[in-house]
Amino acid sequence: MKKQIILLLLLIIAVTSCEKDDICIDAVTPNLIIRFYKDTIPTELKNVQLDSVWAINKSKLSNYKGIETDSIAIPLNLNENSTKYILENNTVKDTIEFTYTRSDVFVSRSCGYKTIFNDFQIDSNTNNWIKSITINNTTITNEKAAHINIYH
């Protein structure tokens, strides 16, 4: 009986101690997803030659340096209710300022809280290479679809 108890004890310790909820695997704060479309045929995706993308007063985003793409995912500033981005296409710069309100939603022990964005708007933008911008959804909760379309 005693032996069985000790064996059972070791078995239960072995089984329960292996559980991991220390690693965050859930989706956290979504990035802003932008897709680029053709100005003349608004349903057709059109690649853009990005020299660099950066938020004002910040360094250039390392994964969008000198690449050709039809979509980008960029983080929004969680310390303020607005983020100003500069998109450089073939040495031509355009500035877009996004405004939003933030609310924090609990995810899990290891992930903590994620931020979701409401009342998402474009406060101002320049039109040097960008022709127009449309917002698909004013609420940003996930990264499943594009949040804004840029026509150029």
Binding site: K2, I12, I13, E19, N79, F106, R109, T115
Partner: protein
């Protein structure tokens, strides 16, 4: 002699060696003690002494109701701050666990030690204070500033059941040293809004599958009430 017995008991319980008792016809009369045993968890006051953020007290008690069956309870109060990667919170509350222990250890004549299995029902009343959190985003392009929150989630409850394994050794007359491990499984909880009960007093850390493990190390004293000759 008693010391030797205790030593053999400890050694045999670790290695599972079946020692052979002397079946001599000596004159020790087999006496069964029935009484109330009360004690405290000696681990929690030590933790309290060294750690300002974590405080705890647990009182344990049991009553022998049948030959090998004991009615058992643990009552406690805990204040604990948990620090995770993105959140920091403090849990404060009280709990009570009640259940039975079955002593599976066959004592030698005159000894009163226990290796037992038990079941418990536990209930806890507590509150959680979210001290601060840092919104979690992929990457560190913007350095997210921690938000000092301080929201207090009050009148939370949790209920669970547990499987207990433990042992008690009589070291001095009627004075017992004990240790036990408890495997807890949540039945129901009242969860805070936009947060989660990640720690529950008495239950300990709540794992993803709503299970938990808790330990105690006890020092208890047996108040004899009835002496029965067998």
């Amino acid at each position: 002699m008693k010391k030797l017995h205790i030593l053999i008991f400890i050694i045999s319980s670790f290695f599972g060696v079946q020692s052979y008792a002397q079946q001599s016809s000596d004159t020790i009369k087999k006496q069964e003690l029935y009484g109330i045993r009360v004690g405290i968890d000696i681990n929690k006051p030590i933790t309290t002494f060294f750690d300002n953020e974590n405080k705890g007290l647990e009182i344990v008690g049991d009553i022998r109701i049948l030959n090998n069956y004991y009615l058992a309870t643990e009552i406690g109060n805990i204040t604990k701050t948990t620090n995770e990667d993105y959140i920091n919170f403090t849990t404060k509350g009280s709990y009570i666990k009640v259940g039975f222990n079955y002593n599976a250890y066959k004592n030698w004549i005159g000894m009163r030690n226990e290796i037992y299995v038990g079941i418990r029902y536990g209930i806890s009343f507590f509150n959680q204070t979210l001290n601060n959190y840092t919104p979690n985003s992929n990457g560190t392009y913007f350095n997210n500033i921690p938000i000092e929150n301080g929201t207090k989630f009050s009148s939370l409850t949790a209920q669970w059941y547990a499987l207990v394994f433990g042992m008690k050794v009589e070291t001095l007359k009627n004075l017992y040293l004990g240790t036990s491990v408890s495997f807890n499984k949540m039945i129901s909880t009242k969860e805070p809004e936009n947060f989660k009960n990640l720690y529950v007093p008495g239950f300990n850390r709540v794992f993803l599958n709503n299970s938990g493990v808790s330990f105690n190390y006890t020092l208890s004293y047996l108040i004899p009430i009835i002496k029965k000759k067998k």
